[in-house]
């Protein structure tokens, strides 16, 4: 592979230094890639595609007429992070999720953080995902967001920032797992002695975490994955995780709640009790008795079963309140308040349009900033200042003035890049990283996570719903690499 021409300009590159040398953790990989000729690369690229196809890695994209499963583009050059750096990030993520869970629990109960004036009261009033139906309740262990997917980005100077936290039903972990399977099949040589940390513990950890939530003290509680069904964009992942954990994949109509708030699934042998539900259905749809009455995806009575402690729901309904981008802006204060610690991971500097000072600044610099709506995900409904037209800026300014609470603004980041296969060779493409954090009796952070890559040159949009691809992510222990060799 011809890597001599690989140029990075103005961005932090994950694999290569500004001088064009591979970073320490990527040295073995770089050497290996260089040794491959064009035919070998082409052969491996085809092997990757075939492996992905066979694995059935598909992602259904919304708003597409065809509604056909299509493969999420997979890039064969991995993204590498030194283990030492990752350990620090991992601790920062644990700290963050710990604080967020305390915050959610407080919001639905005493609201001390508001009473003490640390965050403004309208933080909740304006939050779309605050659920009145969860007030006065605390789930087992006080944990609301059992599975959190936080998006990390790296800026030009190498600093890692948290871009957002997904506390409702974050997806993508199946791609992380499958990408590694594909890489091991296509590049077995690379894994032999290079200190790459495994990622495949996740399904077992997920199952253990879910099982630890069971209200019944039995050895093998009945855990199920609740999916909206085959037409959901992430159905592949729901089926995949259920399979990997060895649990049933159910739809709302497979479950029933009796008058004593017990949850059962309908089987060919009658009704079987259900203890823990990993639900991949949005709050609004999980229980027509409490939320949207027209929902066909949910289970009538599920909320009362949950509130009476008969069943565990992961994530807990209402956890999305902390998913809000305005809440995001307050996370550093939230960490300090509940943990009395300094945040280990930085937030991207964020302007809160609800604060008059910030609002003034945002409106004056709208052409330089990224404006994000509070409650949207997947990159929808945002304005990227430097790439927008005057007309779009005027429209957004109007929206912000109407509902300042609904918007935050951030400076555009010089998102880091990673060498990526492109037509005609290798090019620098922007990447982010979504690790997953599990919280139950213990906390567990994935080894790395899912690296998403914008496949178009210069593009910052990595969302799979908007054509982004993914890469395998290697956490490399440079000290362990080669140890086997030395010891033999």
């Amino acid at each position: 592979m011809n890597l001599a021409d690989y140029m990075v300009s103005g961005f932090y590159d994950e694999l290569v230094t500004p001088a064009g040398r591979p970073r320490a953790a990527a040295r073995a990989l770089w050497k290996y890639l260089k040794s491959l000729d064009a035919d070998e690369i082409a052969e491996r690229k085809v092997a990757c595609e075939v492996a992905a196809l066979v694995a059935g890695i598909t992602f259904r994209v919304y708003f597409e007429d065809t509604g056909v499963d299509r493969a999420m583009p997979f890039d064969l050059i991995p993204r590498v992070i030194p283990k030492k750096e990752w350990d620090g990030i991992s601790e920062g993520l644990e700290q963050r999720v710990r604080a967020l869970n305390l915050f959610i629990d407080d919001l639905y109960n005493d609201q001390k953080i508001i009473a003490e004036g640390v965050v403004p009261a309208d933080l909740i009033a304006g939050s779309e995902h605050f659920r009145e139906q969860c007030r006065g309740f605390s789930p087992p262990l006080g944990v609301w967001a059992h599975i959190c997917g936080s998006d990390l980005v790296r800026d030009g100077d190498g600093t890692v920032y948290v871009l957002e936290d997904n506390l409702r039903i974050p997806s993508g972990v199946s791609y992380m797992l499958e990408n590694r399977q594909v890489m091991k099949r296509v590049f077995p040589e690379l894994f032999e002695d290079s200190g790459i940390q495994p990622v495949d513990e996740y399904p077992a950890q997920l199952f253990d975490m879910l099982a630890s939530l069971s209200p019944r003290p039995v050895e093998y509680p009945n855990v199920v994955v609740l999916t909206p069904g085959v037409f959901n964009s992430a159905y592949f992942e729901h089926a995949y995780l259920a399979q990997q954990m060895g649990v049933e994949l159910v739809e709302g109509r497979d479950l029933v709640v009796d008058d004593d708030n017990n949850v059962f699934m309908r089987t060919i042998g009658g009704l079987e009790p259900v203890d823990v539900i990993y639900r991949r259905v949005d709050d609004e749809f999980i229980d027509p008795e409490v939320f949207r009455p027209d929902s066909l995806l949910g289970v009538r009575g599920l909320m009362r079963a949950w509130r009476s402690g008969k069943v565990a729901l992961a994530n807990a309904p209402g956890a999305g309140v902390a998913d809000d981008k305005v809440v995001y802006a307050w996370v550093p204060e939230i960490i300090r308040y509940y943990l009395d610690e300094e945040p280990e991971l930085a937030n991207v500097p964020t302007f809160k349009c609800s604060e008059p000072e910030d609002l003034k600044y945002v409106l004056a610099h709208i052409d330089e900033l990224v404006i994000k709506p509070a409650n949207e995900s997947g990159g929808y409904g945002m304005l990227i200042g430097p790439r927008s037209t005057r007309k779009e800026q005027r429209e957004f300014a109007k929206l912000i003035r109407e509902k300042p609470r609904n918007y935050i603004a951030q400076p555009t980041l010089a998102l880091s890049t990673c060498p990526t296969m492109v037509p005609g060779g290798v090019g620098a493409r922007h990447v982010d990283l979504r690790p997953f954090i599990l919280s139950g009796q213990q906390t567990f952070v994935t080894t790395g996570g899912l690296t998403r890559v914008a496949m178009k040159a210069g593009s910052l949009v990595v969302n799979s719903s908007q054509g982004g691809g993914s890469k395998d992510t290697w956490i490399v222990d440079t000290e362990a690499a080669g140890r086997k060799e030395g010891g033999a």
Binding site: E248, V256, T267, I268, E272
Partner: protein, 314 residues
């Protein structure tokens, strides 16, 4: 423990795929009869509409015109007919899709491919020759899926419910194919046309791929009562009604639960088949006997649904 919804889908996948295959066989046998018999006693195409139970719908779309072209279109390609080859094949596919995670991936791909291929082939005007090829392709495709399941799928309850669906529907199909013949098509003086009678029964056997097996195991010249006995009561031929019931009985026996109504109903129908010691063609119209079997098969289907698919919905 298997989810009732998945069991339900797999059972109906089995039924619809077998129904599509059966329809293909039914159309083929009728076409052969029409080719082999002189015009005065050839059955024409009207019986097929009646046997598949769609007279009213057919009349609505095609009026009085019960010609080959109309009937073939209605039974094969017409999406407005929920019992057409195209509709039943689509249902076989949708039911499998809903349960595809418990099946080997290749089987789902085969089902999907079969549906896409056949529906493309029947979308235009089918010549008789192409129609025959397409229907044979469907029959082979359906057999292939059955074979893949047998060769690659763990024989768990998911497999059991596909089997039950297929056997129950197959028993029904076989009775309907007999219906084609049972229709009072021979004139009273049937003795006058023995050669034609033999031809008809041969067609029936061939449509069920049963001619060779009949010759091997019955060793008699092809005659009505013997063929009837073979297709209703033979214990070794996999498309005979008795064989299907016996297979169902053994599968149902392994299913969970204390409710044995479906098992009893299956055993009862087997007894009824056995005790009708001679199926008389002339005195008692065959079609009445066949109707009675079909009603009992329908009841077994309902009991299966009540016993295994409806937990918690009473």
């Amino acid at each position: 423990m298997m989810l009732a919804r998945l069991a339900d889908h797999l059972y109906w996948h089995g039924r619809y795929l077998e129904r599509a295959e059966g329809l293909a066989r039914l159309i083929n046998v009728n076409a052969h009869l029409n080719l082999d018999l002189p015009g005065t006693i050839a059955p024409g195409w009207e019986p097929l509409v009646r046997i598949t139970g769609n007279e009213a719908l057919f009349g609505q779309f095609y009026g009085e015109d019960v010609g080959e072209r109309q009937v073939a279109k209605f039974l094969i390609a017409d999406e407005r007919n929920p019992g057409s080859v195209r509709s039943t094949l689509a249902l076989a596919r949708e039911n499998m899709r809903a349960a595809r995670d418990v099946l080997p991936r290749e089987v789902w791909e085969q089902m999907n491919g079969l549906y896409l291929r056949i529906s493309e082939q029947i979308s235009g005007n089918l010549s008789k020759r192409r129609r025959h090829e397409t229907l044979n392709d469907l029959i082979l495709g359906s057999q292939q899926i059955a074979g893949m399941l047998m060769g690659t799928m763990s024989q768990d309850h998911a497999y059991d419910f596909i089997l039950i669906g297929r056997y129950l529907e197959r028993a029904d199909v076989t009775t309907r194919i007999l219906d084609v013949r049972a229709d009072d098509l021979l004139p009273e003086q049937a003795e006058d046309v023995p050669a034609f009678e033999s031809i008809q029964w041969m067609s029936v056997l061939k449509s069920l791929t049963g001619y060779q097996m009949y010759r091997r195991h019955v060793r008699l010249r092809v005659a009505g009562p013997d063929v009837l006995r073979f297709l209703l009561r033979d214990r070794l031929f996999p498309r005979s009604v008795m064989f299907c019931l016996k297979a169902m009985e053994s599968v149902i026996n392994d299913l969970p639960g204390d409710d044995d109504r479906a098992l009893r109903a299956t055993a009862a129908l087997m007894r009824h088949l056995d005790s009708a010691r001679t199926v008389r063609l002339k005195d008692e119209p065959l079609s009445e006997f066949i109707d009675a079997i079909q009603i009992e098969l329908g009841e077994i289907g309902q009991l299966i649904s009540q016993t295994w698919f409806q937990a918690g919905s009473e």
